[in-house]
């Protein structure tokens, strides 16, 4: 399977972030500023800052 590497900008610090076969809603971290990000578009690769609640014990 051909892996497609894509790059996009961190909305927080503008650093370039590369991801292989990104998935919508994939969670990743910006190596530059450390903020947790969420993929909101694949072409182009766009991120938003992920709102993360504390680890929760669902039903």
């Amino acid at each position: 399977m051909v892996e497609i590497a894509r790059t996009g900008e961190c909305p927080e610090c503008g650093a370039l972030i590369g991801l292989k076969d990104p998935l919508i809603r994939e969670i990743t971290t910006c190596e530059e500023c450390g903020v947790t990000l969420e993929v909101i578009s694949i072409e182009p690769l766009l991120f938003e800052i992920a709102e993360l609640e504390g680890e929760d014990w669902g039903e």
Binding site: E26, W57, G58
Partner: protein, 253 residues
């Protein structure tokens, strides 16, 4: 005011003892096991997802939510209501959706591990953030026994919420002194022995030591005590007089 929670595989057993011994004011119940059983029969495979820190929880997609709501509020709820009615109690059963008795905030989706990646997955689950105590008090003060299925309402949809923590929230908001969590185990078990008493300040240690199911009950107990409830008891619902003479673990301030 005494709030009682009943859940787990206990719900599939003969509850005569429970109905006979009813002296509570409000009953909250879960029923996840039955949801999985009926879901599968209806061709809706029950998906469990593993969060990044390895915690397994049910993934509530739209189809599962519909079955969850139907089984809890239409099957288990009515079985409990009929049981209480047959003993002369004026039971009135509904879900947390009704009259927005359980208001919930929808979780931003649940994080799931897919291969090496972590992805947010849309989910119809939530945390209870409010209780319609006006409706509950209206019913209780007129001699009715509210029997609440732990399905909540939030952002225009039904939401799957944790039964134990919903019961804790109901107890706090209605100013109940006591919350009794009846389940299919004797109480909090550490190395096979029942812990008779746990103080609030010790709770966190126990939360780290017990399994996922009991972890939720202790978390609910903590939320209840911090919200003003005086005593939370976690006990077996199978014994004689499970409500008037609980023998499990007492969690107090």
């Amino acid at each position: 005011m005494l709030v009682i929670k009943i859940g787990g595989s206990l719900l599939e057993e003969d509850l005569e003892n429970f109905y006979d011994d009813w002296i509570g004011d409000i009953l909250v119940h879960g029923g996840a096991k039955k949801v999985t059983e009926i879901g599968e029969k209806l061709g809706v495979k029950q998906e469990f997802i593993v969060s990044p820190s390895g915690f397994k929880s049910r993934h509530t997609d739209e189809k599962t939510l519909e079955i969850f709501t139907m089984v809890l509020s239409g099957l288990i709820n009515k079985k409990l209501v009929i049981g209480l009615l047959s003993k002369g109690h004026k039971a009135v059963g509904f879900s947390g959706i009704d009259g927005e008795v359980l208001k919930a905030q929808r979780k931003k989706g649940v994080l799931a591990k897919i291969g090496e990646k972590v992805v947010r997955v849309e989910d119809f689950s939530g945390n209870v953030i409010g209780v319609n105590t006006e409706l509950l008090k209206l019913l209780v003060s007129n001699g009715y026994v509210p029997v609440i299925a732990s399905v909540a309402y939030g952002e225009g949809v039904a939401l799957n919420v944790d039964g134990d923590r919903s019961a804790a929230k109901v107890a706090v908001e209605t100013g109940a002194e006591k919350l009794l969590i009846l389940t299919d185990v004797e109480g909090v078990l550490i190395k096979g022995d029942i812990v008779p008493k746990i103080k609030l300040y010790e709770l966190d240690e126990y939360i780290d030591e017990v399994g996922a199911g009991m972890k939720k009950k202790l978390l609910a107990a903590k939320e209840a005590l911090e919200g003003g409830v005086k005593e939370v008891i976690i006990s077996s619902g199978k014994k004689e007089n499970p409500i008037s003479q609980p023998t499990g673990t007492r969690v107090i301030r």
